[in-house]
Symmetry: none
Subunit: 388 residues, 2 copies
Amino acid sequence: MIRPAVALIGSFRQHYPHVLAAAQVFLDNGIAVKSPPMSWITNPGREFVRFASDPPRSSDHAIQAGTLEKIFASDFVYVVNPGGYIGRTTAYELGRVRERGLAVFYAEPPEDLPIDVPEGTVVSALDLAIAIGRGTGVRPRPIRRPRVAALPTADIVIFTIRLGRLHVLLVKRGTDPFRGKLALPGGFVRPGESLEDTAMRELKEETGLDSSGIRLRQLHTYSHPQRDPRGRIVTTAFLAIAPNLPEVTGATDAYRADWVEVEESLWQNGGRLAFDHGVILQEGLERARQLLEHTTVGLDFCGKHFTISELREVYEAVWGVKVNPQNFQRKVRNTTGFVVKTKEKRTSRPGAPAELFRRGTAHILYPPMMRPGQQQRTRRENQPTNMV
Amino acid sequence: MIRPAVALIGSFRQHYPHVLAAAQVFLDNGIAVKSPPMSWITNPGREFVRFASDPPRSSDHAIQAGTLEKIFASDFVYVVNPGGYIGRTTAYELGRVRERGLAVFYAEPPEDLPIDVPEGTVVSALDLAIAIGRGTGVRPRPIRRPRVAALPTADIVIFTIRLGRLHVLLVKRGTDPFRGKLALPGGFVRPGESLEDTAMRELKEETGLDSSGIRLRQLHTYSHPQRDPRGRIVTTAFLAIAPNLPEVTGATDAYRADWVEVEESLWQNGGRLAFDHGVILQEGLERARQLLEHTTVGLDFCGKHFTISELREVYEAVWGVKVNPQNFQRKVRNTTGFVVKTKEKRTSRPGAPAELFRRGTAHILYPPMMRPGQQQRTRRENQPTNMV
DNA sequence: GGAATAGTGTCTATTAGACACTATTGT
DNA sequence: ACAATAGTGTCTAATAGACACTATTCC
């Protein structure tokens, strides 16, 4: 649980003392104040207020952009509007904030601005601070519980195997934050889309190919309040598995997309992934490993026709261990519905010509493929255990 | 290619003739004008302008909401601001529009509003119309791709076993939508909370007891755009498992919380659950069944001390099948770290006194507990299969 | 005493893992 | 010729499922 944060907006030029007083109330009640800075005004009387903490040489709209960033990084917005007055800059900020979906509360009912003011959103700073504070204090007036709006995004962990090694698709970020760092492909949910729609669209855009045959599986949703410096962004990670795609080009976006070896991207390079994508990749990898045990997704790495050795190499690449070829062969062939023999054979490397298979109808492997080296094993004898 | 559409904003009160003139220019060049209506003003001189085509009885902000809808339905926005003047309502609309990512063009450079005006966006209506009509020049490109803000919520599927049957905690909704229907407990994410924080807080509130020992697992995130009639609400479902709790009272909220038998809530009663909670419950149940196979969560249903028969009844209740008592006994006792024998015995029902156990250190069962009736089984012989 | 339960022993079918072996190819 | 690969056979240890059996309790 992170300390909640508020941004105060309003006509600083006219009402700065009121703003300071309200900010103090929030601070006294354990709520962080992201904006305005607790500073002093250097150009009193001017239309656009500047604070001593603002960089003196930057333009008005650069300062305003910084203010909006701080506002978006907070959990809710409090409008300080004595007499109901809301100026033009505040009106503009209010539009941005409301379109973004942040919760907005008002000190007084807004005058002369035709906006919807829901029941319970006109409230004093103290009442609001008390209602938010974790103390179950008395709520003197009915106020709507502050809800947090978030921008949902979908990020994709897509694996493939190249030269016998597991690779993941990463993009180099072209914009801040984390400009130049590697990140998982993904993007924001657009109007009318579900997370699955977004993931599929992004996958198409990033790989630049027909990904209609690629199945997406939801992995996990990451919602830590500070996981993205831009504000409240909640991402849902998806897992996808692709057969060996020859080349990939980021089709629509300026940044480049490339296959990177998984081990390398996780441990090497000093180059940590952007945001929490390192964790997401790690957890996606573990999920892929589990899926190989229990389902037939290993086939998704292969083309339409494949040999059992190729399938084994998939398991070895994903699991990161060697698998006994003979026993693997028998397990695969003896599991109903896993693979179906074709009449063709392939003879590429030294050795007997290998039979070609195509996928069977099964999707679940029960009993599962046993992953080596996981043995917790049952005990041989019923010895008296005394684990604490 | 659909006919492009523009929305004009600006101070209609002061500049309506300019607005009409600009609109005519767009119309003459084959561009649709979504807003304002080509109508006349019924309340000249008043702060908030009303048109003859507006419903006369509706409130200012209802009309404004309709206007915003039309603006958002257009492809770009043209700000009619003679002398650079932008009023407060226009500033608010501008904020909404820019946050939405729509392209914005200005008749003149905006004065006294600290916003970013990109190169080439100050342009006459005629130039703009021609550029768009010809398709050659300035293409209205979104400043930023439209994003959707959503309210994240956490819903909880919490199971327990009462009288040998699996129960789930459901609440009766006290407000619309779905007033009076049963739903999963849950709620909106509050400032500073992660989804996990929200789920834990709601669980405490709903069960009204110390749930510090209860572990939450994320299940799935449901994001269909129309899954909640109130708007864009994205819910993440969590799974929790509780030992037999004697009674539950919804502590903070007006609605009642009660344990309901799972089979009943899913199939019977004609009473479908609210929202998509029926699906969530179904998928949560399947996940719980899988977890019992692969982990020691079955112990979470039991108290601190338990007999092996009690644990078996947990498996039977969740899986919905009978389990062979002898083999279950052996499997549990022979799996290292699953359970630890205590020195006590319990003698409640007819039969020999049962030994009491407590939980071991293991969390993962490998190899797993085999769930009966899942057999896809491997083949006895390597028969030629011909599955399609 | 009869029924129900707890716990152990035993048998069978199946499987994972290990290894031997043959057949077939590229170099 | 040699090394590498494909595929089959066989042995061992472990396990799931089935059932028999004893001991202990409640009614």
